[in-house]
C-alpha cells in the first residue's frame, strides 16, 4: 500500500546499490528466499536451518534435524513447507507452521541439490553425488524414489555415428545440477560434462539434450517465466540460455530441433579471469539482470541481459561471497560470506524527502517566483471558511473495498509462473506463527560469554543435545563425514580450482568442501 507514496525514482530503480545490512545466526552455507520474499531460509554449517524474517532481520524459526552442513533449500509454492538437503545424505521436508518434520528421505550418497516440484510439495528432484539423479515422491509415508536419466539423448543420426568411446563417456556422466521448469512438467538437469537435458517429469524420459560447454556445470537456475536459465560452469563463464516455452502443451515443442535451447549471453571477466561462485537472476519473471559472486574476490557482478553488458559491481564486505540470492520482487540481494558465514544484504538507499515532513514545503529544482493567489490574504469570516470547507466534503468515500495494485509486486514470482492465481491464493493463506524468545534459544553460537568482556569457544558437543533424539543419525554420522571428506572435492575440485587459502579456522576444512559442493 506504500507504493503510491514512494518516490517514483526510487521505485524505478531495479538494481541494489549498497550494502545495507547483515544477518547472523551461526555459520550460514546456503540461503533461499521464500516465494513471497518475506523470509530467507539459511542452512548452517552445523545442520541447523534458520528462517530469517527480512522485515525485522530477526530469526523467525530454527529447524533442527540435520547433523551436517546444509547444502540446498527449496520452498514450497505457498511458503509453508521447506525442503532442506544436507551433507548427512538426508533431505527433510519441514512444515513451518509448527517446525515439524513432515518427511525425511535418506539417500545412499550426498545430495548436491534438492528442489521441490513447483506445484506439489511432496515431490522433489535431487542431484546426487556420483549417483543417478532421483525424482522422489513423498506422498506416502514411504518415499518412492525414481531414477532420472543422465545419458544425453542423441538424435538418430548421431546414434549411428557415435563411437563406442563416446557412448561409454555418455554413460559415465553424472548429473550435477537439477531444476524444475515453473510448470513442474519438465526438469532441467546439467551434467559434469556440460550437457543440459530436458526430462519430462511424468515419463522420466530425456526429451532433449544439448551440450553448452565441455566443463562441469555447477549451477542451473530457471527464471520464473520459464523462458531463460542461467548456468555456471567451471570454465569461468556464466551463460544465459533461451529455453523453449514448455508451459503449454508440450506436444507442440519440437524436441528434435537441435537449436531448442540456445546460449544467449556468455558473461565473463576476460581481464581478471575471474571464476564465479554462484549466480542469480534478478527479480521479476523474466530476470532482466544476472548477478554473480566471484571466486577469491569480494565483489558481486551484475550484468543486464538486453545487451549483455556489465552494469554494476556491488562492493561487498572484505570477504569472499558464495551463495547469492536475489529477492523475488525487490532490488535486494543476499549473499553468504565464505569465512564468517554471515548473510550480507544489498539494497537501494532511499533518501528522506524533506517535503514529506512539512506538507506546505515543496522541493523545487531551481528558484521559482512566487505568485500569490488573488484571495490569498483576504480576511474571511472564520465560520464562512469552516462552512465552505464542510461543503466541499461531498466526495463519496469507500472505506471497505480493497483495490489491489495492478502489478502485484509481492507476488511477482508466483505470477510469473503459469498458475498465478492459485499460487497466490495458496500463498495468501499461510502465515508463519510468531515465536517469542527464539533468539535466546540461540545456544549453538560458537562463542559464549563467560563474564564481563570474556568469551570462550563452546565445547564441540555443547548445544547439540537435541541430536540424541535423532538416534540413527548419531551412528551414521561418522561414516557420513568420511564419505563427505573424501567425496566432496573429487568431482569438482578441478572445477572451481579453489583451495580457499586453507581456511585456517576450526571449521575451515569442512566449510570449504561444502561450499564447493553447492557451487
Amino acid at each position: 500500500m506504500n507504493l503510491s507514496l514512494l518516490d517514483p525514482f526510487v521505485l524505478a530503480q531495479d538494481l541494489p546499490e549498497a550494502l545495507v545490512g547483515r544477518l547472523r545466526s551461526g555459520h550460514s552455507t546456503s540461503i533461499q528466499f521464500s516465494h513471497r520474499g518475506d523470509y530467507l531460509a539459511s542452512g548452517r554449517l552445523d545442520g541447523v536451518v534458520i528462517i530469517f524474517d527480512i522485515e525485522t532481520n530477526g530469526v523467525a524459526r530454527k529447524l533442527r534435524g540435520h547433523t551436517h552442513q546444509v547444502q540446498s533449500l527449496s520452498w514450497s509454492a505457498n511458503d509453508r513447507c521447506l525442503l532442506s538437503a544436507a551433507h548427512d545424505w538426508k533431505c527433510i521436508l519441514w512444515d513451518l507452521k509448527d517446525g515439524s518434520r513432515l518427511r525425511t528421505v535418506k539417500f545412499e550418497a550426498a545430495v548436491f541439490i534438492a528442489e521441490l516440484h513447483p506445484k506439489n510439495h511432496f515431490i522433489f528432484a535431487a542431484a546426487l553425488f556420483e549417483e543417478q539423479p532421483m525424482l522422489v515422491d513423498m506422498t506416502g509415508d514411504v518415499p518412492i524414489k525414481r531414477t532420472l536419466p543422465t545419458v544425453p539423448r542423441r538424435t538418430e543420426a548421431e546414434r549411428e555415428t557415435i563411437s563406442e568411446k563416446q557412448a561409454a563417456q555418455d554413460a559415465k556422466q553424472t548429473t550435477t545440477v537439477i531444476a524444475f521448469a515453473p510448470s513442474g512438467d519438465h526438469i532441467y538437469t546439467g551434467t559434469n560434462r556440460g550437457w543440459v537435458n530436458i526430462i519430462a517429469t511424468a515419463t522420466r524420459q530425456t526429451l532433449y539434450s544439448t551440450r553448452v560447454t565441455n566443463n562441469i556445470l555447477v549451477l542451473i537456475r530457471v527464471a520464473p517465466s520459464g523462458r531463460s536459465a542461467v548456468i555456471n560452469s567451471t570454465d569461468r563463464i556464466i551463460r544465459t540460455l533461451h529455453l523453449p516455452d514448455l508451459s503449454g502443451d508440450s506436444g507442440n515443442v519440437d524436441f528434435d530441433n537441435p537449436r531448442l535451447v540456445e546460449v544467449e549471453h556468455k558473461f565473463q571477466d576476460l581481464v581478471n579471469r575471474l571464476s564465479w561462485n554462484h549466480a542469480a537472476f534478478s527479480s521479476g519473471s523474466s530476470g532482466e539482470y544476472v548477478a554473480a559472486s566471484t571466486f577469491m574476490n569480494h565483489d558481486i557482478y551484475v550484468w543486464e541481459r538486453a545487451h549483455g553488458s556489465l552494469v554494476k559491481i556491488l562492493e561487498g564486505p572484505r570477504e569472499e561471497l558464495s551463495h547469492l540470492e536475489w529477492h523475488p520482487c525487490r532490488p535486494f540481494v543476499a549473499a553468504v560470506g565464505v569465512d564468517s558465514g554471515r548473510v550480507y544484504l544489498w539494497s537501494i538507499l532511499t533518501p528522506q524527502r524533506w517535503s514529506a515532513l512539512a506538507p506546505d514545503f515543496v522541493e523545487v529544482d531551481e528558484n521559482v517566483e512566487y505568485v500569490e493567489r488573488e484571495d490569498e490574504f483576504d480576511i474571511q469570516p472564520l465560520e464562512e471558511l469552516h462552512k465552505r470547507r464542510l461543503d466541499l466534503e461531498d466526495e463519496h468515500v469507500d472505506v471497505l473495498t480493497v483495490v489491489e495494485p495492478a502489478a502485484d509486486h509481492a507476488n511477482g514470482k508466483a505470477a510469473g509462473a503459469g498458475d498465478a492465481s492459485s499460487a497466490r491464493a495458496a500463498a495468501a493463506q499461510f502465515q508463519m506463527p510468531i515465536l517469542l524468545d527464539i533468539e535466546q534459544s540461540d545456544s549453538e553460537d560458537e562463542v559464549i560469554a563467560v563474564g564481563a568482556g570474556q568469551f570462550r569457544r563452546k565445547s564441540p558437543g555443547q548445544g547439540r543435545e537435541w541430536m540424541a533424539e535423532v538416534g540413527d543419525v548419531v551412528a551414521g554420522s561418522g561414516a557420513g563425514m568420511g564419505a563427505n571428506g573424501s567425496g566432496t572435492g573429487t568431482p569438482l575440485a578441478g572445477a572451481s580450482g579453489d583451495e580457499a587459502g586453507g581456511g585456517g579456522s576450526v571449521g575451515g576444512g569442512r566449510r570449504n568442501g561444502g561450499k564447493r559442493r553447492r557451487e
Binding site: 524474517d53 513432515l102 461531498d394 502465515q431 533468539e439
Partner: protein, 472 residues
C-alpha cells in the same frame, strides 16, 4: 449540550440506563447544535487510564480553548448513491447486551480479538481483563504492569496481547495462559500511549509521551527502529492492512505516514486549525486514515493526496483520547472486514499438508456490506456515522471496537465497565420496512444510523447535573 435529545437524557439519568433491553430509545436524527457547554472537569481523571497525577493531565485541555462551535453541517447530506439505497438498512439498533464489571478504575481501551471470540480491556488499575465475547465471562486478569495501561493490541492470530503502560514498558501476554511474556519491551522514556501489531504479527509499533515512535521486533523483544516522529506526545499509531505503512499522530497536530521498511516519513497531514490529534486509524481498505482531534472532530483523510475529505462531528472530544473504529453492517453482515493481506489460519485442518489435498473452500462472493465509523464521546455517548453522511447521530466513551464479523460493538469508559452491544436484527428489519415506506413518502431525509442508550460513566454524576442545568 444539545447533542443529546431529551429522550436520551432521560434514559441516561441516574442508574436506570442501559440495563433492560427496552431502555434504548430511538433517537431523532437532527441533533441541534448550539454551543457546547463545556464544563472543565475538576475530577481526578486519569487521562486514558494513565496514572498521571492531576494537573499534568490537562495536556488535552488546551483543545477546549481553540474550539470553534461546530457548524451545522451542510443540511441535506443525503448524497448516498441512489443505487445503494434499496438494500441499505436505514438504521442500526445496537442494544446493550452485556455489562462487564471488574475494573477498579477507568477503562482506557477495549478490543475484540481478531477471531471475534474474546474481548480485552485495559484500565488505569494496572490490569488487563480478558472476557468471552459471547457470554461476557471473565477469563483472565493480566497483571504485571506497574502503572495504568493506556493501550492494548491483539496479535493477528488472537493468541497474544500487547499492552502499553505508564510504566514505560510494553508487555506481551499469552492470552491462553494469562501470563506475561518474561521480557517486556523496554526502551521508551515516557508513558507508552499507543501500540499496534503489524498484520503479520512480527512487529509492534508504539507511540509514547517521549514523542518518538518505536518499531519493535516481536520475536526478540527488541527495538528495530526509532522514528523521531513528533514534537509532542505521540497519541496514536496504526499499521495499514498490508503492514507497509505506519500512521502516527501527536498533540502537535500532525499525522505522519511512515514507510515501515525504511522508517522514512512519506507524508505529513496537518489541518489548518492544528488541533491536537489524539487518535489515528487506517480505514479497513487502507486508503484513508481517520483521525480524532481535540476540536471535537473526526476527520477522514485521503493521505495519498494529503486532503481531509470528511469531517464527522457531533461528539464531544476536548480532553481524552477517544476510541473508535470502523465497523460494518448491511444485509451480509456476517461478512468480515477485508482481512489483512494474509489471513492467518492456524487452525485449519492439516489434511492438505499430509498428502490428502483437500479443496479449500474459496471465499464466496462477498455479500454487500456497508461501513460505519464508531467513536466514543466525552458526554457518554457512542456515535456511529455513515462515512458518506457527515452528520453525527449519537453518542459515549474511551474505547470502542467492532466485532470483526458480526454486528457487535464493545465499549469501555471511565466508569470502569465494559459493555457489549448487539445489533437487534428483528427491530432493524421492522424499522427497515417502516423506513422504506417513509423513504418513499419523504425522500431526501437524513436518517439516523444508530440509537444507543448511554452507558453512563460513574463519574458522570457530575456530568449529568451539568446536562440538567444546561437543559434547564
Amino acid at each position: 449540550m444539545s447533542l443529546l435529545s431529551p429522550e436520551r437524557m432521560r434514559s441516561a439519568d441516574g442508574d436506570g440506563y442501559a440495563r433492560s433491553p427496552g431502555s434504548y430509545r430511538e433517537m431523532e436524527a437532527e441533533p441541534q447544535r448550539d454551543s457546547y457547554n463545556y464544563v472543565a472537569s475538576s475530577e481526578n481523571h486519569a487521562v486514558r487510564g494513565g496514572d498521571t497525577p492531576d494537573g499534568e493531565t490537562n495536556l488535552y485541555g488546551q483543545g477546549s480553548h481553540s474550539y470553534d462551535s461546530p457548524e451545522e453541517p451542510n443540511g441535506s447530506g443525503d448524497y448516498a448513491p441512489p443505487s445503494l439505497l434499496p438494500q441499505r438498512p436505514s438504521k442500526l439498533y445496537f442494544k446493550p447486551a452485556l455489562i462487564l464489571r471488574g475494573h477498579k478504575r477507568g477503562v482506557a481501551a477495549v478490543k475484540f480479538s481478531p477471531d471475534g471470540k474474546l474481548i480485552a480491556s485495559c484500565s488505569a488499575d494496572c490490569t488487563i481483563k480478558v472476557w468471552d465475547a459471547q457470554t461476557g465471562k471473565h477469563q483472565h486478569t493480566l497483571q504485571a504492569h506497574l502503572a495504568g495501561i493506556s493501550t492494548i493490541a491483539w496479535s493477528p492470530d488472537s493468541k497474544m496481547l500487547a499492552s502499553g503502560s505508564d510504566d514505560k514498558s510494553i508487555r506481551l501476554w499469552d492470552v491462553a495462559s494469562g501470563r506475561a511474556h518474561r521480557t517486556p519491551l523496554v526502551g521508551h522514556h515516557n508513558y507508552v500511549y499507543s501500540v499496534a501489531f503489524s498484520p503479520k504479527g512480527n512487529m509492534i509499533v508504539s507511540g509514547s509521551y517521549d514523542e518518538a515512535v518505536y518499531i519493535w521486533d516481536v520475536r526478540s523483544a527488541r527495538v528495530m527502529r526509532t522514528l523521531p516522529a513528533h514534537a509532542d506526545p505521540v497519541s496514536g499509531v496504526d499499521f495499514v492492512r498490508d503492514g507497509t505503512l505506519i500512521a502516527s499522530c501527536s498533540h502537535d497536530g500532525l499525522i505522519r505516514i511512515w514507510d515501515t521498511a525504511t522508517g522514512q516519513c512519506l507524508r505529513t497531514l496537518v489541518h489548518e486549525d492544528n488541533a491536537p490529534v489524539v487518535g489515528v486509524r487506517f480505514s479497513p481498505n487502507g486508503k484513508y486514515v481517520l483521525a480524532w482531534t481535540l476540536d471535537s472532530c473526526l476527520r477522514l483523510w485521503n493521505y495519498i493526496e494529503g486532503r481531509a475529505i470528511k469531517t464527522y462531528q457531533g461528539h464531544k472530544n476536548l480532553k481524552y483520547s477517544l476510541g473508535g473504529c470502523f465497523g460494518i453492517y448491511g444485509p451480509g453482515r456476517t461478512h468480515p472486514l477485508p482481512p489483512p493481506l494474509q489471513l492467518p489460519r492456524y487452525d485449519d485442518d492439516d489434511s492438505e499438508y499430509n498428502g490428502h489435498a483437500g479443496q479449500r473452500q474459496d471465499q464466496a462472493a462477498q455479500p454487500i456490506a456497508y461501513a460505519f465509523i464508531a467513536s466514543g464521546s466525552e458526554d457518554g455517548a457512542i456515535l456511529l456515522w455513515d462515512p458518506n453522511k457527515v452528520k453525527g447521530h449519537e453518542g459515549a466513551v474511551l474505547g470502542v471496537d467492532a466485532h470483526p464479523t458480526e454486528s457487535v460493538l464493545v465499549t469501555a469508559g471511565m466508569d470502569g465497565t465494559v459493555r457489549v452491544w448487539r445489533h437487534d436484527g428483528a427491530a432493524a428489519a421492522r424499522e427497515a420496512e417502516e423506513a422504506a415506506k417513509e423513504e418513499q413518502r419523504r425522500a431526501a431525509r437524513e436518517v439516523a444510523l444508530l440509537e444507543a442508550p448511554t452507558p453512563t460513566p460513574t463519574t458522570a454524576d457530575v456530568r449529568m447535573t451539568d446536562y440538567e442545568t444546561a437543559e434547564g
